[in-house]
Structure formats: C-alpha cells, structure tokens
C-alpha cells in the first residue's frame, strides 16, 4: 500500500518529521509501536518511529534520522510523493498505567518515540519528568512538544549550548544518587529511548536502586512480524524477538552488548550502499548520468 507524504519538516540537520497518509496504521496505533516502511520497490524494509497518529485524519507522523541509503532516500522525497510500502502498527504498545512519578529519558530520534508515550502517561495521571539530550542545541528535536506533554523537562547538551552541559544520564544519576529530599524525587519508573549506548547507561544508573526501567530497542529488522529473527535480543539466557515480544523490554535484563554488537552486523554493506548512492546523486546533479543509472556500473569506475 503506497503512503503519500503530506507534510515534510526538517527538525534538525539530520532528523526529519514526515506526515504520511496511512489510515490503517493511524486507526490502530498506540504509543510505543512502530512501522516498517520501504521507500521504493527495491528498497530495504526499515523500522521507523511513529511520533504521532491522527486517526480522524488517517495520518501518522514518522521521525527518522539520516543514517544510511534508505533514510537518505527517504529524506529526499518531497511532499506529495509516496513511500512504496508502509506496514504497521507493529510491536506491542507501551504499558500505560498510573505508576506515580515516571522519568522519561530520550536521545536522538528516541525523543520522538517517547513523545506519544509520555503524553499517554501524563494523561492517566502520572507525574512525568523528562530528560532529553543531544550533542548540540541545534540537534535537539521536539523540545516544545515534549515540554507541553511533560510535568517538567530537563535538557542536556554535550557542548552546553542548551540546558546543562553533559549527558542525560548525568542528570538521572544525580537524581537517583543524591540523598532523599526535594531535589531527589522518588522515582517509580524510568523509560529510556535513544541510542543503544544511552539506554545501556540508563540501565546501569537505575540498576543499583532497582528502579523499574523500560527501554525500547531499535534492532535490525526485516519483516517485523516474527519471521526472520534478525531482531533477536537476549534477556539473560532467554531469546526474545524485538518485533513481536518488544520493542520494549526490562532494561535490567537486556544484554546491551549483544544489542550494540548486532546493530553493526551490516555496517560495511550499509556504508557501501550509502557511498554508492551519494556518488549516484552527485552524478545526477551534474547531469553526468541518466536518472536510473545502474549503481553497479558506478561503483566499478
């Protein structure tokens, strides 16, 4: 089913928000779920974050960062153009209950994934304290949206260009480790979504105090329906599939080293595809190549 892009927004240099027409997804989406898309007929199937669903309009918002050929191609599509395929919602929804005080930690496009979750958590009466971070102020996304949806927001940047200088986990560690008092809220639950190393660090920070911590894993997937097993993760000795058992898991049981290692499996090939595509785009821009140039020929010259 093709999905038309009806709005295209660049959130920061490498991250985009696309509103697309996908009524069958919008109607059933619940916070924490994702979609798998294919930008063109010969494209990869890649899982993407859904930041928002508007079932009455049949629209979902996808947020993605340009990291490889597929996301670069997606970023070049314009309003009115179509994604070749979009399937979802996939994965299990987040557990939304009244936990009390919930800390939400977000980094990168994980912030977009967190957004609907924290809206839902706040709506059922939780106090939602959010910590979001990025390398620089310029790379922070959805700050206003997150601010509106949270009880309180803390921002960190690596270079101190906005909020506190440091990492999201520094703030979290300070809250958890400082003696009880007004400045150190008792935390009932932590939800962390972002790059795998960030989620690993969050798990380490909350583990000593045994604060229930949930992470949403962004593993490699192909079908996203439990068929290929490429998204397998290990919780102790138990194998789980991120696509149908997750994507959310108990952070204290996840073997993050495996998650991080397996994310690198196709890196070399991904790099090759990206470089080839960039060369192809450059050739097109200079008018040196026909539109549908065969990439294999390019890579050999």
């Amino acid at each position: 089913m093709k999905a038309r892009i009806i709005e295209r927004r660049q959130l920061c240099p490498e991250i985009y928000l696309y509103k697309i027409e996908a009524p069958h997804v919008a109607e059933r989406f619940r916070p924490g779920q994702f979609v798998i898309i294919q930008t063109h007929e010969k494209g990869e199937r890649i899982p993407l974050t859904v930041a928002e669903a508007q079932p009455e309009k049949g629209i979902i918002s996808l947020v993605f960062q340009v990291v490889g050929k597929s996301t670069l191609h997606l970023s070049l599509l314009q309003k009115g153009q179509y994604l070749e395929n979009c399937v979802g919602p996939l994965g299990n929804p987040s557990e939304i209950r009244r936990f009390g005080r919930v800390v939400c930690v977000g980094g990168g496009t994980g912030i977009a994934c967190l957004w609907p979750i924290l809206k839902a958590l706040k709506a059922v009466g939780n106090e939602v304290l959010t910590i979001i971070g990025a390398r620089t102020a310029e790379r922070l996304i959805l700050v206003e949206e997150i601010r509106q949806a949270s009880s309180q927001v803390f921002i960190t940047t690596d270079d101190g260009s906005q909020g506190e200088k440091g990492l999201v986990t520094d703030v979290l560690a300070r809250w958890i480790n400082s003696p009880a008092g007004a400045s150190s809220p008792a935390i009932d639950r932590v939800i962390a979504i972002g790059p795998a190393p960030m989620m690993k660090k969050v798990a380490e920070v909350t583990r000593p105090q045994r604060i229930k911590t949930i992470v949403s894993l962004n593993t490699i997937m192909v079908d996203g329906t439990g068929m290929c097993g490429s998204c397998r993760v290990f919780l102790g000795q138990t194998m789980k599939l991120a696509c149908i058992d997750g994507p959310e898991f108990d952070a204290h049981r996840v073997n993050f080293d495996d998650v991080i290692s397996r994310l690198e499996m196709f890196r070399q090939k991904e790099k090759l595809a990206l470089e080839t595509y960039r060369r192809q785009l450059a050739a097109q821009r200079e008018g040196l190549a026909p539109k549908e140039l065969h990439p294999k020929r390019l890579s050999s010259d």
């Binding site: 089913m1 069958h24 997804v25 109607e27 059933r28 294919q38 010969k42 494209g43 990869e44 199937r45 050929k69 597929s70 070749e84 395929n85 979009c86 399937v87 979802g88 919602p89 996939l90 192909v222 079908d223 329906t225 439990g226 068929m227 290929c228 097993g229 490429s230 397998r232 290990f234 194998m239 149908i244 073997n255 495996d258 290692s261 397996r262 690198e264 499996m265 196709f266 070399q268 090939k269 991904e270 090759l272 595809a273 080839t276 065969h294 990439p295 294999k296 890579s299």
Partner: protein
C-alpha cells in the same frame, strides 16, 4: 510398435559451474518436442494412480494425452481449470512421492516426468499470455483469506470462481507467502510466482498487502465483516537451537537468510538495498529442503565451502532427493552425524566457527527415525564465518496472540475438524498453520478442501 515406457526424456539443466554464478532456474524446461516425446511414454493406465495420489487430484491423464497430441493449449486449460498455479506445483511438488512415484513406469520411484510436463504447459501458456476467461456468477457473500501462501491462493481462487467476493490479507509487501520469501529463484523464478498471482487479481480477487490481521483489524471484527474466513498463515516463525553463540554476527535463521535473498533480492545488492553477509565458509544446520535452499543460496553468494551439518544420515534426511542431488553437484559438502554444541566468536562478536560433537544413531524415536546420540569426547571445531540454522519453523505467534479464541494444540498448530473448520463456526484453516512444516501441494489440497467446505456452508445458508 512403440516400445512401452522407455527412458525418461532427460531434463536439460544449467551446469553446476554455470549455476553457482547466478540465481537462474536450474532446470531449463522441456522443448515442445521433448515434452511430446515424454508425454508419449504414458501408458494411459485406467486406474490413473497419478491422479489418485495427487493431493488435489489434477486431471493428469488428460493433460498428458493432450501434450502427446501436441495440443498444448488444451493441455493448459485442462490443468489450469483445477490448479491456478501449475507453473509453481510443476516445479516444487515432491512428485517422486506422489504422481511420479506411483507411475507404473517408475522403476526407481521416477516415472513419467509429470512435474516437468506440468511446468512445460504452464510456461508455454505464460509465454503466450494465455489465460482462461472465467464466466463468474457473482454472489454477495464476502470471504476473507488470511495469508497469501499456496493454501490461501487456491482457496481464494476456488471461492472466486464460485462467485464469492474474496479479500486476501497479506502482512508482507508482496503476495505469495513462502513461494515469495522462502523458495529461491533458481527453483521457482520470481516472475513465475508474480504471473500466477496476477491471474487471481485478474479474476477479481482483492489483495490487501501490508495488512496484518490482528494488528490492523481485530480478528473479531474481521469475523463480523466476512461471511467466512480461511486462515492460511503458514508456519513462518524460525526455530533456534538455543545454544551458546547464537547472538554472534554471522549467525542467521534460514528464514532470515532466505527472506533477505529471495524476497528482498539481497543477491542483487546495490541494485536492491537489502544487504546480506555471507562468508567464505558457511555451515547450514539441518538437512531438509530449506537447508538445501539456504546452502545453495550461500554458494551462489560466493561462499567457497558450504557444509550441510546434519545429526542423522542422508537416509533420514527429509529433503527431496533432487534437492540433495543438485546441492551436491554444486559442491556442497555433506557432513553427517554431527551436532552443534556452541558457536564460537571473535572479540568483535563475529562468528568464527562451530563446536560439533559426533553422533551415532540409536533406537527409533517418536518420528520413527533413529534417535541421534552424542558420542562424548568427540567434539571438534569447524571454522565458519556464517552459520544458517535450518531447523524448521512454527506458526506465527503474533497472529495467534491476536486471535486467542482460536483453539490450537501445544505446538501452536490450529486445530480443525474433517472439513478444516476450526473451533469457531465459519472459520477454516489449512496448510502449514495446521500441519507445521509440510509441502506446497498439501497446502493447496487444504485450501481447496476448505474452499469447498466454505462454499457448502454459505450456499446452504442461502437456501
């Protein structure tokens, strides 16, 4: 006088050296003259064992007779009237244990080459764009088919012929199920699958791709919207060994390996975007048809040494003889009576080998095959960069989770009665979803039987 029987007209094939460079079809198909010669060998027996032993009882005899008389178009219409997918079944059915196995010409279990003749007429018709124009008498009832594999396709075809409004739901972006993601192009070319499916579209079967029943529509709602439902969701979830090292990079399920190669066309990487990494030395765990497919794909992706690692012996292998033969011709190394203990990796998390233990055969187990027993102390290491686990598959947990009212047995197989009806009235199931790992033709048989049962139920309700 024509000598009765005689020898099979040999099927010309790509040479093994040629084959391992590409994913083109290995059998080259009969020419018209060859097909006629092969068809003329038929004894025209009265008991037609070939038809009796066909799970969907195709009119083999009439087809053969028409081919022998060079009436290819007639042969095609005879076969297509009963089988919407002749180009597929002709290629992937285990004929040696069905029609060809019971042929009186069969001295060695290989009688008249019925499979290749069926493929021949289908290919002959495809080359000419020949298709039967159906006169369909429309009925108002809507029937949902979940899953577009072989069971679902034939069920949809039969119901549509009888005039029902049929919608096929498919979670992937292409219809065909295992025909599309599982069976490699050198056994079943993708354009053949696409062409056969396009016939169903042409006669008015609606396909809803990228649609997961349960995720996109509650199962209960689907039951309200449709007069009957056929579940052909297959057995698409891979089994894993559960041993140390399965987290390593370079370890795949056969499903992942084949999905990347077949559905996503990773063997044409850079033209297609999906990558695959296949090392120089590859080990395939298991010795069924899927294992052979994976091993042969690995060879075509450039692997120099590809091992089949099997805990029993060739005699117990569930793979078709033809598949094993083709694999061996392509240089695949058969290593039997070994079982993996653990996978070994390097400091960067890449697979570097497998520790195997030698096995011996003991008393027969519940499957009737001798139980493999480890010989303690016989462990050794085989260096490998890629491991593909082909241990079989189970039904999709996600679908079953979304339809908890469906009765399943302890293996997750949907339970059905003699008419293939589940515990829910009006809901039928067939194929691998009720059988586990079976064959395309058995799935077709189920889909056909369920379609007939649905037709009976709905037409009775009408009266």
């Amino acid at each position: 006088m024509i000598k009765i029987g005689g020898r099979r007209v040999p099927m010309r094939e790509l040479s093994p050296e040629e084959r391992i460079k590409n994913f083109s079809s290995v059998p080259l198909g009969y020419t018209e003259a060859e097909a006629v010669r092969e068809a003329q060998r038929c004894l025209q027996c009265r008991g037609v064992p070939c038809e009796v032993y066909c799970p969907i009882h195709l009119r083999v005899l009439d087809m053969i007779r028409a081919i022998a008389a060079r009436r290819f178009q007639e042969a095609f219409f005879i076969i297509q009237a009963d089988n919407p997918l002749p180009a597929i079944t002709g290629r992937v059915c285990p004929q040696e244990s069905q029609c060809e196995g019971v042929c009186p010409l069969a001295q060695d279990g290989r009688g008249l080459n019925i499979g290749k003749l069926e493929a021949f007429v289908a290919d002959w018709a495809r080359a000419r764009g020949l298709r039967e124009k159906l006169q369909i008498k429309e009925r108002p009832q809507r029937v949902a088919v979940i899953g577009s594999g072989p069971a679902g396709l034939i069920c949809a075809y039969d119901l549509r012929r009888w005039g029902y409004q049929v919608v096929v739901f498919e979670a992937l972006h292409k219809a065909g199920g295992v025909l599309q993601y599982g069976i490699p192009a050198f056994r079943l070319p993708t354009e053949v699958v696409d062409y056969e499916i396009s016939y169903l579209q042409e006669i008015g079967v609606e396909f809803r791709l990228n649609f997961f029943v349960g995720q996109n529509i509650p199962f209960a709602e689907l039951r309200r919207d449709f007069a009957a439902i056929f579940i052909g969701t297959g057995a698409g979830a891979p089994l894993f060994l559960g041993i140390e090292g399965e987290n390593l990079k370079g370890v795949y399920s056969a499903n992942e390996f084949l999905i990347r190669v077949n559905l996503m066309k990773a063997y044409r990487f850079l033209e297609y975007d999906t990558p695959i990494i296949c090392g120089r030395r590859v080990g395939v765990i298991g010795a069924g048809n899927v294992a052979m497919d994976a091993a042969r794909c690995a060879r075509r992706l450039g692997a120099e040494e590809v091992y089949i690692l099997y805990r029993r012996t060739r005699k117990e292998s569930p793979a078709r003889d033809e598949e094993i033969q083709h694999a061996l011709e392509e240089g695949i190394i058969w290593m039997e009576l070994v079982a993996p203990r653990r996978f070994l990796g390097d400091e960067k998390g890449w697979c570097r080998g497998v520790e195997l233990v030698r096995m011996r055969l003991g008393e027969p187990d519940s499957s009737g095959r001798p139980r493999p027993l480890p010989i303690e102390g016989s462990e050794f290491v085989l260096e490998l960069e890629t491991v593909i686990e082909a241990l079989g598959t189970t039904p999709n947990r996600l679908f079953l989770k979304q339809a908890p009212e469906l009765a399943v047995n302890r293996w997750g197989l949907i339970q059905v009665d003699d008419n293939l009806q589940t515990n829910l009235p009006g809901v039928f199931a067939g194929g691998d979803a009720i059988r586990g790992n079976a064959t395309v033709i058995l799935a077709l048989g189920d889909g056909r039987k369920a379609a007939a049962a649905i037709h009976r139920q709905l037409s009775e309700a009408e009266r």
